[in-house]
């Protein structure tokens, strides 16, 4: 989108000096306050509705029950154990995706012929729902860490490849020329110019990859597992233990939000010149 000049949209708005300090505080945190209010209202309404509607504990739960179930999960250590089990393939798969994806993408971005050769091939893989191969991978590699790690890797490697490629292509040509005229070789270019330029793209890729990696873990565990957070969710579902199931689901949501928003925050803090995207 092109930068448009700021236009005053409401001419009746008082000038900045006229606004007192307190309203300005409320205004600055307006979005945050409204959001918090909405979340609180949502949970309150959820709790309150079962004062009027009979609760069928086999199908629905309410916040007070979920909280009680959650305390149970925490006390018994089940939740911590399941999360720890799921975290291993999650991080191993992501780490492998970074280690393989970023260098591959950098070479694709720097060497046009490599780019021409691999771009269509990888795009096909990226566009096809690779999750569909999960049953095969689970049968072949088993239900343990290797199977899940490979699913996570195969889902999360592509954002790194394509973003690293885009990062290299966005490198300022003059920087390359400077390094060359100072006598720098290919390796210096990769290390001193391309890697720093790829970094913000890599972090952006991580934000996308985290979501896909979570899908990979869940798919792997829904299929066949004996522990892990995905297994816990589907087992509580089979047991009709809805409150504990909600607890696990909310935990996964919280983790997803913390990871995604955390990376977004890191992006804004570390690379403030790259807003948007």
């Amino acid at each position: 989108m092109p930068e448009r000049a700021e236009r005053p949209d409401r001419t009746t708005e008082p000038p900045a000096e006229a606004i007192a300090v307190r309203p300005r505080f409320a205004f600055r945190y307006r979005n945050f306050l409204l959001g918090t209010l909405a979340v609180v209202a949502f949970f309150a309404a959820w709790q309150a509705i079962f004062l009027f509607v009979p609760l069928n504990p086999l199908f629905m739960s309410k916040p007070s029950l979920i909280a009680a179930g959650y305390v149970d999960l925490l006390d018994s250590g089940d939740l911590a154990h399941d999360l720890a089990v799921s975290a291993v393939p999650f991080f191993l798969g992501l780490a492998a995706a970074v280690v393989i994806g970023v260098p591959l993408g950098m070479v694709m971005g720097w060497r046009p012929r490599v780019g021409y050769a691999l771009d269509p091939l990888l795009t096909i893989f990226y566009a096809s729902p690779l999750v569909a191969l999960a049953p095969l991978l689970v049968i072949f590699f088993g239900v343990g860490i290797p199977g899940k790690t490979i699913i996570v890797f195969s889902l999360s490697v592509f954002p790194f490849v394509f973003n690293a490629c885009a990062g290299v292509r966005a490198v300022d040509r003059r920087l390359i020329d400077v390094v060359r005229s100072m006598g720098g070789g290919e390796w210096d270019l990769y290390r001193k110019i391309m890697l720093p330029s790829v970094l913000p793209y890599g972090v952006a890729a991580a934000r996308i990859a985290v979501g896909r990696a979570l899908i990979g873990v869940l798919v792997g565990e829904f299929f066949a597992a004996s522990e892990g957070i995905g297994f816990a969710i589907s087992r509580f579902g089979d047991l009709f233990a809805i409150d504990k199931m909600f607890g696990c689901i909310l935990t996964v949501m919280a983790i997803a939000v913390v990871l995604t928003e955390g990376i977004r925050f890191a992006e804004r803090t570390a690379f403030p010149w790259r807003t948007g995207q």
């Binding site: 959001g35 021409y116 569909a132 049953p135 899908i215 869940l218 969710i233 997803a256």
Partner: protein
């Protein structure tokens, strides 16, 4: 010498200016396509002949298939017509879920884009649902809607809704204030503003959202059928995997990928059709 090689590798245009021979120029034009197809063909050929070159245990062979086998299976599935019934079941969930997501996502996106209070209130929910893989709700949805169309539809709907909603919202927020004020000073209602200014302006955003939504919807159909369904192409694939019919799994993958590519292509056609009125300089951004 090493230096020139780097230059050549980094910028193929450096080697051939005006003085390049016609053959070289032709090669330069077709090089990207040739290398792209070449690598795909090379991969297929290697895959095809891998079992002949690499000694494999009988157990591993059970899990292995070659492209010719996949192609034969795919052909056979279409020739015998055995693919149509499960494909129809999957397509039904896909189309209904995506349609519902469009019906809900577009108006809601416009509404949130026009009202900053509503947007601020919905933001935590949208952020949370968008960050979370919708797959996590599948066991819950299975419990609520049972096996079959409805739970599948719900997964597809949840997957496709958020890209559409968020992109529509962003597009609406980017609408030109000046145009809105002009229309408003001619006495337009909020409905007119949406119809005349906001939605046409948000179209490129909406199209991108739609493309993302198609990918998510296909993913939703696949996983929903893997875990909670009795028929559909995904079910065929899971059964095939457990019977070691690896060909069928890959054939299903190809059909799903093709479905997603065809739908994305249709969206591109739609985009061109719908943005014909748009002046070129706006398109360029």
């Amino acid at each position: 010498m090493a230096e020139t090689q780097i230059l050549d590798g980094a910028r193929p245009e450096a080697g051939g200016g005006e003085g390049a021979s016609p053959g070289r120029r032709l090669w330069r034009r077709i090089e990207p396509a040739a290398l792209g197809t070449g690598s795909i063909v090379l991969m297929l050929v290697l895959w095809q002949f891998l079992p002949d070159v690499l000694p494999m245990k009988a157990g591993t062979k059970l899990f292995f298939t070659v492209p010719s086998g996949i192609a034969a299976t795919l052909w056979q599935m279409f020739a015998s017509g055995s693919i149509w019934a499960p494909l129809a079941v999957s397509a039904e969930a896909f189309i209904l879920g995506l349609g519902l997501a469009i019906l809900v996502g577009l108006p809601l996106g416009v509404l949130l884009g026009r009202s900053s209070v509503l947007a601020a209130m919905c933001d935590p929910f949208i952020t949370a649902f968008n960050a979370t893989p919708r797959l996590v709700f599948l066991p819950l949805l299975l419990l609520w809607f049972g096996l079959g169309l409805w739970s599948k539809l719900a997964v597809v709907f949840l997957g496709a809704l958020f890209p559409l909603l968020i992109n529509t919202y962003e597009g609406v927020r980017h609408a030109d204030r000046l145009l809105i004020n002009v229309v408003r000073s001619f006495g337009a209602s909020e409905w007119d503003i949406a119809r005349l200014v906001v939605v046409p302006n948000a179209l490129p955003f909406i199209i991108v959202g739609l493309r993302l939504a198609i990918g998510r919807a296909v993913l939703g159909v696949v996983v929903a059928e893997f875990f909670g369904s009795q028929d559909g192409l995904g079910v065929v694939m899971v059964r095939a995997a457990s019977e070691f019919k690896v060909d069928v799994v890959f054939a299903g993958l190809i059909v799903f990928a093709a479905l997603s590519l065809i739908m994305t292509g249709l969206v591109q056609v739609l985009e061109r059709r719908l943005s014909r009125w748009r002046p070129q300089h706006v398109n360029a951004d």
